[in-house]
């Protein structure tokens, strides 16, 4: 008996100390845990998707390490400072984007990269810079914003979105655009404006169609009828649906998915990794992943709702909801609900810059969370 109670005391102590450490590092325990789980599962799936390549596995682990470091650093930055540098970040991003358009590297048929010692995509900066800028623009103004302000914000969002779409990188462009628009929504734009904007969306989409490259139009057509060209444009979506469908309830087992292992499934480590989970772990596996995402989003939205000031609220809300859009667009395109746009599955897909950007986003969330706790105590 005596020994038992002493054990309880001893076991509690480390928990207390780790909670303290998290607070000291301005980290949110639940969010950090959920993100880590998602990343771990991602590594696990990636090993199978890359045909058991330890090289790819190591690279992804390094990226995750770098990304977590970025999260940790960002979390230490006071929200105030983040707010104050917001416009500078936005303009800096715009300058870089223009550079890319004129003298960028060409990677995979698109001009996205800027070679500055390390290769990186300035469009990634915009994923955060745009919501920061919009939140900054609104934070001292009265909510809901007036029509004039909404128009200004629209222009702020559209300029980088169009520049990115020109690269062409439709996926990122959509994410950047959405992250800004979401703030307008969160800022309480009246529903009558929303209905007007929705009506504008019709000519807007026609305009978008005009701006689209041939391959992008092809993707829309393919979504509507993949069997038009099953070995060409329709191949990806057909193989992806076969992979997921043939996974059934419980999947074929880790490293046993024939679509994945025999390379019928294209882009299986990156954009189509959701289909890998579907084939090897079945409906059950996908539901687990989706639940983890829902929990991440829920925790993020909770942080947003608790944020102490308007800038933090809007930015945290935008980051949370953009993350949702990320997940939704990737999952929906892989299962053939929307056309294929190059958006990876966040935290799981193999790839560098987007992982870092995501983690910086979460770092901002944690900074906001820490700021709120500081104020409330």
């Amino acid at each position: 008996m005596f020994n038992d109670t002493s054990n309880i005391w001893h076991s509690r102590y480390p928990i207390k100390s780790s909670a303290f450490a998290l607070q000291l590092l301005k980290l949110d325990g639940p969010l950090l845990l959920l993100i880590s789980i998602a990343c771990l599962l991602g590594v696990f799936v990636l090993f199978s998707a890359s045909n058991e390549s330890t090289e790819i596995l190591m690279r992804q682990l390094i990226r995750i390490g770098v990304a977590f470091a970025a999260l940790l650093v960002t979390a230490q930055i006071p929200t105030d400072l983040i707010r104050r540098i917001s416009p500078w970040g936005y303009f800096f991003g715009l300058v870089l984007l223009s550079f890319v358009l004129f003298l960028g590297d060409i990677g995979q048929g698109a001009q996205r990269w800027l070679d500055i010692g390390i290769r990186f995509q300035p469009s990634e900066i915009m994923k955060l810079a745009v919501p920061m800028m919009v939140a900054w623009y609104l934070h001292e103004r009265k909510l809901p914003p007036s029509g004039k302000h909404i128009l200004n914000i629209f222009i702020l969002i559209l300029i980088p979105s169009i520049l990115i779409a020109k690269q062409p990188d439709l996926g990122t462009s959509i994410l950047v655009f959405t992250s800004g628009i979401l703030i307008i929504f969160l800022a309480g734009i009246p529903f009558r404006y929303i209905s007007v904007l929705s009506l504008l969306a019709i000519p807007g989409s026609l305009l978008l169609w005009e701006f689209m490259e041939d391959y992008q139009r092809q993707r829309v057509i393919t979504l509507l009828n993949p069997d038009i060209d099953p070995l060409g444009a329709g191949y990806n979506i057909i193989q992806s649906k076969i992979a997921i469908g043939s996974g059934g309830l419980f999947g074929k087992g880790w490293t046993n998915g024939s679509q994945v292992q025999l390379e019928f499934l294209p882009e299986k480590s990156t954009d189509f990794i959701f289909a890998v989970i579907g084939e090897e772990f079945g409906l059950l596996g996908l539901l687990c992943i989706l639940i983890i995402y829902i929990l991440i989003i829920a925790r993020s939205l909770y942080i947003a709702s608790q944020a102490p000031d308007l800038y933090s609220k809007l930015l945290a809300g935008s980051i949370s909801l953009t993350f949702f859009v990320y997940v939704f667009v990737n999952a929906a395109m892989v299962i053939g609900l929307i056309p294929i746009v190059g958006i990876p599955l966040p935290l799981i897909s193999y790839g560098g810059t987007s992982m870092v950007t995501l983690m910086i986003g979460f770092g901002i969330l944690m900074s906001i969370n820490a700021n709120q706790k500081l104020l409330s105590t």
Binding site: E140, L186, I242, S246, G282, L287, L290, L301, G317
Partner: protein, 625 residues
Amino acid sequence: MSKNIHIKDHGKEKTLFLNRIFISSLVGLFLFIIIVIRLIQLQVFEYDTFSQKAQGNRINLRATLSPRGTIFDRNGNTLAENITAFELIITPEQVIDTEETMNNLLDLKLINPMQIDAIRKKIQKTQKFRSITLRSNLNDQEIARFAANRANFPGIDLQPKLIRHYPHKNYTSHVVGYVGSINKKDQTRLNQSFYNPNEKTGKTGTEYFKETILHGEPGYYQFIANARGREISLNENRKNNTFLENKPALPGVNIFLTIDLNLQILATDLLDERRGSVVAIDPNNGQVLALVSSPSFDPNIFNENLTTSKYNELQRNTDQPLFNRAVLGTYSPGSIIKPILGLAALQLGVTNLTQRHICKGHYSLPGNTHRYRDWLSSGHGSVNLHKAISQSCDVFFYEVGGRIGIDRMHDYLDQFGLGQKTNIELAGERTGLIPSTKWKKAMFSKKEDKNWFPGETVIASIGQGYMLATPLQLANATAALATRGNRFKPTLISAIENPINNEKIFNESQELTQIKIDSQSYWEEVISAMHNVMQGSGTAKNVGLGAPYKMAGKSGTVQVISVGQEEEYDRELIDERFQDHALFVAFAPLNNPEIAVAVIIENGNSGSRVAAPIAKSIMDEYLGY
């Protein structure tokens, strides 16, 4: 612009924000539910469809070729078999430097410099893991040269491949035939699902005629393939692959021919590259013991990389080695038909065993001055049927033939199988021709040509004029004489053998309608006259004299009136080509015949002097003397 001071209602803003977060969450949840519904649709309701599609994706079929049946002679000597040849292959993905490798192979003279460009193109078009054949049928030196340098050639390998081989070369080529690549004509004939485009198919002889049973049925095996069709070997412990189907190929049936290889070789050697043919038949069942067309060719050359010049050489050769004279060559039978006409005359009562005619060396139709000459210009004097056959007196048959008449002549020759296909197992057999008034009416378009003239009956009586027969038909008719009227369909197939359990099914002899001759004495009279030809006072008496067994024969020496079917020859050749064809038929032993032979030597001059000794040697060999 003056800075506006906003009166901010923080409580209201907070509610508005929370409200918006709530709406977003609802919308988000709704969208997640749509995704889940879609997943349930794909993974639960459409699971079977997609599961099958995934299987179809990864399981590929590959055909396994069936080994072709072996062809044997009647005693089990191999006439056609499959042997292993080696081809040089390249697997591009394993090659470090393709250009260097090609140059090194060129230095070793293992590839043809003319084909380098074609090989390069092929390598570019084919997936890197698939092997490409660089050269086929390497000879021993080439194999040794490559083996010695193998270490320098990663990605280059020797691959065994079954090819057809004919160990007895030109001795059996016209009977066995040969195989060659499938052409458009073959495609329409063959069951395409049984053939790989690179396979070979029978082109002539037994290889052609018995293609369906020789070829066998290909099998297949299923294997796991990746998206590019590469075969993936699975770790058996981890991945269960017993569901893969494997249907082994059914090998082709082995065929035993009726041919006696020794006889075939002897006959070929006796013809000694002269244009001609020998056919020997067992009269008791119609089995063909030897079937030779000379000159012949080596069928193995069709397996090697036959250059067109080599083939053209065979095609252009005026001796026509590719032409199977035994069944495709048609010749005037000449005096060979005299025993048959003698039988007809006796049966019809237009002469009898003792009736005599005076032969003065020529014959004229009543009321006509045209003289039909006997081969012996001095004449045979007083001849009866027996002497007319043994001495081959033409005048006797001019006279008797006129009495029989062309149509009855046709009927009797027809009973012996002349003028009709024997339906032997060889393609393209010719019908030959036995004229009749009906035939002439149908054959000619001008009215004055449609009539049959008495003079045409005269020359038909000694087997000339329109009359044509193949060597096989003559041997077949001789076999019918030997058995005194029992006829069998000539056949080349002795038995077929199941290659798996070696069970043999023998080909039963097919008896044909017996020849109707009322009196046995008629047969014996004619046959004794034929015996006299070889072993008495007849035209070939020197040939059969002193033999330990009794034999019968009949010579024929046929004028080459017009040039043969298709050739157009050099002027220098004309003289030789206008010499008479030498024919001889024979059978032995006289009373229990075991073999009937027909020998034809084109432009051989004399049937009894040139063709008869060959017939006799063949009978000696077959009967064991």
